[in-house]
């Protein structure tokens, strides 16, 4: 009897142990980089054709991968922007993006580094998010971070996080692990695809 109960408990806890779930980001049908998110987070992979609201005359936006935990107010998305190629452009892109989405953007941190063989630029700051709900607009103070990375010859990878301070505090480690998991798919592997 005891061994059966023991086996059941092992199965139960093995199934709920947090383990990362891995994803492969593809651009133009070829794998570009891989990444991991904590198990239990909802991950949505939206291919170019599934991203709505493309104005006429514009090229499709590359795949957007978003991930979020079941609890907490945050948005965490990763995509490739093929309109920028270097980090000067990336800084301009970020400034334009944050002004487009937020009010009162206040950058607080900037770092450069090399992770998993990729040059990375990391920005952090705070902003005010104007959230519309039920015909009312709520002003919410949010944290954001953006990491730019070059996973291949073309385009710039972007990982953007936006969340309430409580979510930032709760998921900081998980988000850092997710960022550090981003690895380029080496050219040798790409050539076999």
């Amino acid at each position: 009897m005891r061994w059966i109960l023991g086996l059941l408990m092992v199965l139960l806890f093995t199934g709920s142990t947090p383990v990362a779930q891995s994803f492969l980001y593809e651009l133009d049908g070829k794998p570009l980089f891989s990444m991991s998110h904590p198990l239990g987070w909802s991950v949505v992979v939206e291919r170019s054709e599934e991203l709505a609201a493309k104005p006429d005359g514009h090229a499709l936006m590359p795949t957007l991968i978003t991930a979020r935990p079941s609890v907490g107010q945050l948005w965490y998305g990763i995509w490739v922007c093929d309109k920028i190629d270097d980090f000067d452009d990336a800084q301009h892109y970020l400034a334009s993006l944050t002004e487009h989405v937020f009010d009162n953007v206040t950058p607080s941190k900037f770092e450069t580094g090399v992770y998993n063989g990729m040059d990375v630029r990391y920005y952090e700051g705070t902003a005010v998010y104007l959230r519309s709900e039920a015909n009312a607009t709520h002003r919410e103070n949010v944290d954001f971070f953006a990491a730019f990375f070059k996973p291949g010859d073309k385009g710039m990878g972007i990982a953007l996080y936006v969340g309430l301070p409580s979510a930032t505090e709760r998921y900081r480690d998980a988000l850092a692990q997710s960022l550090q998991s981003i690895r380029p798919v080496v050219a040798a592997v790409r050539s076999y695809e």
Partner: protein, 50 residues
């Protein structure tokens, strides 16, 4: 003996079901990110470079 095994299996099923339903409810009610996602995609199309 068999009754105990049945109880144990029933308990296991209940725990798994509770875990799944809780996650589904929380996922379904989290709509906070819709506006930011929309902002990111609309900015992508409006961005014309530095």
């Amino acid at each position: 003996m068999r009754r105990r095994i049945a109880y144990a299996i029933g308990l296991l099923i209940c725990l798994v079901a509770l875990s799944c339903s809780s996650q589904m409810i929380q996922t379904g009610t989290n709509t906070w990110d819709i506006g930011i996602r929309s902002g990111v995609t609309s900015h992508y199309y409006s961005y014309s470079g530095p």
